[in-house]
């Protein structure tokens, strides 16, 4: 009988402590609940939840809070689909939605671009860049050692047989991680709806580019002269596409003698 009582006392005391603390916690969690704007959660649910950091904030939760407070613009987020952005804009009463964009690598060199030396390290583009500005003869040629592949959290970037990086526009959320990491700075955003893009970043003269790469833009201007919509203009040796005028007729892609105007 003594044992039973001592077991009961021990169990009872522990149970009592547990119940007391449990009650205090429940009461306090109600009393001390931090009231926050309900729209923050609603907005967060509509965001891409990729937590990519492309907007410059720690994650989607912080971005949602900044949106509701009016400290951020909806167009800062590039990962959220346009349909959801419109819902958020309706919820918050307006705000620029911004155009959906994706990243592209402005280089078509790879194997077509000559090598300056035989790289025998095991590093990525960033460490290769340290040795005489990379292995490629072209100063703005894709090194093809997969720094961007590593920085992409969505598996959207790959290096194909041609030896240069290619972005899969279906997978890309335009977070900008690869843009920041590319030591050559040859990745930029274009509208997702774009049909063509310039696959070269070299502003050099035709003869100089020819010595570096078989596919580099020589600035001949054939694309600009033949564009039926007048959407292409030559600027500093490279064509510039006005995507608001481009109709996607592909004339430039077919006419380009260097095959560096590419289909998107």
């Amino acid at each position: 009988m003594e044992y039973v009582i001592s077991v009961l006392i021990a169990g009872g005391v522990m149970l009592a402590i547990a119940v007391i603390f449990g009650t205090i916690l429940v009461v306090c969690s109600h009393l001390l609940a931090v009231r926050r704007d309900e729209r923050i959660d609603a907005v967060e649910n509509l965001l891409a939840k990729s937590n990519c950091g492309g907007c410059g904030r720690a994650g989607c939760a912080q971005f949602a809070e900044a949106l509701v407070k009016g400290e951020a613009k909806l167009s800062d987020c590039r990962a959220t689909p346009a349909a959801n952005k419109e819902k958020i804009a309706a919820l918050l009463g307006g705000g620029e939605v911004g155009e959906e964009t994706v990243a592209v690598v402005h280089c078509s060199g790879g194997g077509a671009c000559y090598d300056k030396y035989d790289y025998q390290g095991y590093g990525d583009c960033a460490s290769c860049e340290l040795i005489a500005g990379g292995v490629k003869a072209c100063p703005v040629g894709c090194i093809g050692k997969k720094t961007c592949v590593g920085s992409c959290a969505y598996g959207a970037v790959s290096v194909g047989d041609e030896g240069y990086s290619v972005v899969d526009k279906e997978k890309c959320v335009s977070c900008g991680a690869c843009i920041a990491d590319c030591p050559k700075g040859i990745i930029s955003r274009i509208p997702k709806s774009a049909k063509v893009f310039v696959g070269c970043s070299n502003h050099g003269k035709g003869k100089d580019v020819m010595e570096l790469c078989k596919r580099g833009c020589i600035g001949c201007g054939i694309c600009a002269k033949n564009c039926p919509a007048g959407a292409i203009e030559m600027k500093d040796g490279l064509p510039e596409i006005d995507y608001s005028k481009c109709t996607g007729c592909m004339t430039c892609v077919h006419k380009c003698p260097r095959k560096c105007m590419r289909e998107h």
């Binding site: 001592s6 006392i9 021990a10 005391v13 522990m14 402590i17 547990a18 603390f21 449990g22 205090i24 916690l25 306090c28 969690s29 001390l32 931090v34």
Partner: protein, 196 residues
């Protein structure tokens, strides 16, 4: 009295350092010591929780467990008290001091169930001969300070070893463990100083 408090604190911080000579709290010691800022945050959170838990565990032990003759349940009761207290504390901080919450918030729940907290409560309240509550409290806070000292020292060394040219097989955790071992050796040099 002052001398006793000082010697108790010296013992807890240096010669009986919780991490480097008692091997408690190794998990956060190795896990959160990559950056100096997070190491300091963790250290202060530990001091905070140790101070608070020593107060409540001492009250619980002396006024509930001993009178009822169930001291053997101290471990369970301490876990219960510490876990609920930290939860409560988190709520209070979130409500009244968002700044402190964002500084400590991430680390508070991490250390709730850490062996270092429970070990300190056990060693200062149950297994020690400290007569007054003042000594128990001083020992608990000093143990937390000892943790802060150890984790910040390790973080400082790790910042150096991360950039140092060391063999590939030593990179990361191996060199950290070697560092911790050498630090433990250095702290062992204080054994016996100001004892008693």
């Amino acid at each position: 009295m002052t001398l006793t408090v000082l010697s108790v604190m010296f013992t807890a911080v240096i010669s009986q350092n919780i991490v480097l000579s008692q091997y408690q709290g190794i998990c956060p010691f190795l896990g959160v010591s990559k950056k100096m800022s997070s190491a300091a945050g963790m250290g202060f959170a530990v001091i905070f929780v140790m101070a608070i838990s020593s107060v409540f565990c001492w009250l619980l032990y002396n006024y509930i467990l001993i009178p009822l003759g169930i001291e053997y349940l101290s471990t369970m009761a301490f876990i219960l008290v510490i876990a609920s207290l930290v939860q409560l504390l988190e709520m209070l901080l979130k409500r009244f001091s968002p700044t402190l919450y964002s500084a400590l918030g991430v680390y508070l729940p991490l250390i709730t169930t850490n062996c270092a907290i429970l070990g300190t409560a056990n060693s200062t309240i149950v297994f020690s001969s400290y007569e007054s509550f003042g000594l128990v409290f001083a020992a608990s806070v000093a143990t937390g300070v000892g943790f802060l000292l150890a984790i910040c020292l390790l973080a400082g060394v790790r910042l150096k070893t991360d950039g140092a040219d060391i063999p590939a097989c030593f990179k990361g955790f191996p060199i950290t463990l070697v560092t911790a071992a050498i630090m433990a050796l250095a702290f062992a040099g204080f054994t016996g100083m100001l004892a008693g």
